[in-house]
Amino acid sequence: MTAVEITPAVIAEHGLNAEEYARVLEILGREPNITELGIFSVMWSEHCSYKSSKKWLKTLPTTAPWVIQGPGENAGIVDIGDGLTAVFKMESHNHPSFIEPYQGAATGVGGILRDVFTMGARPVANLNALRFGAPDHPKTRHLIAGVVSGIGGYGNCVGVPTVGGEVNFHPGYNGNILVNAMTVGIAPADRIFYSKASGIGNPVVYVGSKTGRDGIHGATMASAEFNADSEEKRPTVQVGDPFTEKLLIEACLELMDTDVIVAIQDMGAAGLTSSSFEMASKGGLGVELALDTVPMREEGMTPYELMLSESQERMLMVLEPGKEPVAEAIFRKWGLDFAVIGRLTDTGRMVLTWHGDTVADLPIDPLAEAAPEYDRPWEPSPAPAPVDPASVPTVPWTEALVTLMGSPDLASRRWIWEQYDHMVMGDTVQRPGGDAAVVRIHGPAGLTDRGLAMTTDCTPRYGSADPVLGGTQAVVEAWRNLTAVGARPLAITDNMNFGNPEKPRIMGQFVGACQGISAACLALDFPVVSGNVSLYNETEGQAIPPTPTIGGVGVLDDLDRMATVAFKAEGDAILLIGG
């Protein structure tokens, strides 16, 4: 391998600023090589390090007696009774979906599914929260068609019903659409899997698809503001393979029934780098990987590419010693790649080799834990100017009603959900079209008369007017949608979509939304158990409306008492309640 010179230009291309690079030199006590620089850039990207948002995310309420796992793992977990848990999370795939709507949305679904089944849960439902530009913007039609068929193409094939979601249109999303995907799974409370590695000497195993040059730089791309020529740059787009994902779900769940997994982590954005760092860092251990043993799809791949590839449908596991054959047999049966690529060490370092030569040697903790964390300056959003009631035109009721019904934000979404298989798995007791979807709880022991209710909510108009109230309102709406079907709300996942946090005004929107969400969560005893942050949703200085999407989950103890929106019988009284 020819050595790449680490020039200021190369450093800048990797998204590290001068201060961050100085930190790299300090940690290493020497100049990094290109593979190491690539690893730093991925680990310290906004996407992986949450460097702008961490301070504020820590202020969200995350506990309740029924919370088993809050933020910090692949997904959040709540107790739903009868020895079962609901495992859920929401994640954005905004930038990739703008560049290639079908594949971007499809791989977004794939990624969030992996976050959930990694923890031992069988995924039971998907939801999606979508924001597009103005309906008459030249790109909108192409984007929405691609995104919807991508979500369907992936979810339908893996056989997880897509039961709900939301769609808004606003010119503020013309250059930055939002694709937020949520997965809910069910796992036995006594069989949950975490990413914390343990056991010096234990084998580190790679399973799933082979690694190709997919989305190299994707993780850094997801954290950098768009500009006019990013359409030209066209990074290698990741292509999803839902068939392989389905096999991976079945193989992982089958392996989880045996007692051989010590730790497991999916390879999401920043693939092998972040998964291996995270597992080792959580366990306070070191790891050695022989990169030449990673299953590769293309010839001539380099250690740099292997560490940065975002190829989909891959997982990293630590196994009990000597149990490799048990795992291998299961993955082979499902037609998947399986390779022992390394082992855990007690050095606290990540050592990567390539045909016997060391190509990277990095201390794990300083990289993973001491990633930059910023207290970015922020300005509270100005209070919205009061609307003069006299300025609101009066229109006849029927005309107003027809206008509302025909508006893109309120019109029927049937054409979307009909492209999604919302009934597969045979447990969808409340289909899309109501306030929240309801899926019957069907655990490993069989059918029950209980259900999980789920919804996604956010009204960007409110967030634009007042980020604090917008955040509060999104949580409250999720709570209302769950209670409206008769469910007891349990917890939420959030997906914080904002513009460039380096601008105090935008940072103020983010802070405001966090404050608003916190207030609602505390008031309702409705904690945050997982979430995702997507910043830099800006094109040419134009930021999206603040969009803190909330995904809520609740439980129904008796499906016979579920409520639905439809009027049931002639002569029934109609009541209006609330303020």
Binding site: N156, G159, D241, F243
Partner: protein, 230 residues
């Protein structure tokens, strides 16, 4: 009735149909792995479930049709055993040559998941005996490739031999183009083999066979089989 469900890589309605079979027969069916050519001799019913076997890559059902288990299904069908193919299972049966014709991309090119209405076109089969003649059943579809095509001779044979089991229709039972969700030839939703022991249909009876899910119009298929095969 002893039933088996064939599981291919990518099948995803295998559990759903197993639930319906268990509810009908009182015991779980055998789940049979695709790579195994040896099906038990004493099976009464083999179900090829819905899903995306092999990702539906190349053509829906094409790769599953060439699997080891399908060789066993072919033998069993030749012996007169009942074979039911639902959705992807119907595509597999056509690709395997156990049913005539082919299933092409829906004319809208979209995947469609919704309830449709089916007119029961024949009650003269082990699958449909529990329906009333010309009964209208509400059953969901969920597919991308359900647009049935066949040449004229095949179409005539299906018609003449009373082998069209279901047609897409309006809620009132009219067979119209508007009621055709995918462009299928003559609104065909399901067909029988010459010996009437193999049924392929695009709609999913297992998805509306439980009052909890909002309907039971799919249940008569399982009830008919239970009665005929026990």
């Amino acid at each position: 009735m002893k039933a088996a469900v064939i599981v291919f890589p990518g099948s995803n309605c295998d559990r759903d149909v197993a639930v319906s079979l268990e509810r009908t027969t009182g015991r779980p069916p055998l789940m049979h792995w695709h790579a195994d050519a040896d099906l038990p001799e004493d099976l009464d019913l083999i179900v090829i479930p819905g899903g995306f076997s092999y990702g539906d890559y190349l053509r829906s059902g094409a790769m599953a049709a060439r699997s080891a288990a399908m060789a066993g299904v072919r033998t069993a069908a030749a012996k007169g055993r009942a074979v039911l193919g639902i959705c992807n299972g119907f595509q597999v049966l056509c690709e395997a040559g156990l049913l005539p014709g082919a299933l092409m991309r829906n004319r809208s090119l979209h995947y469609i998941c919704r309830d449709v209405y089916l007119r029961v076109e024949t009650t003269d089969s082990i699958f449909t005996g529990h329906y009333a003649p010309a009964q209208v059943a509400r059953i969901p579809i969920a597919h991308h490739d359900g647009n049935y095509v066949a040449d004229l001779a095949t179409h005539c044979a299906l018609e003449d031999e009373d082998r069209i089991a279901f047609r897409y229709c309006t809620p009132a039972g009219k067979v119209t183009d508007d009621a055709n969700p995918n462009g299928s030839l003559d609104n065909i939703a399901g067909i029988l083999s010459e010996e009437r022991n193999v049924l392929g249909l695009m709609p999913h009876p297992e998805r509306l066979a439980d009052p909890r899910l909002g309907g039971t119009d799919g249940q008569p298929i399982f009830a008919s089989l239970m009665e005929a095969l026990s």
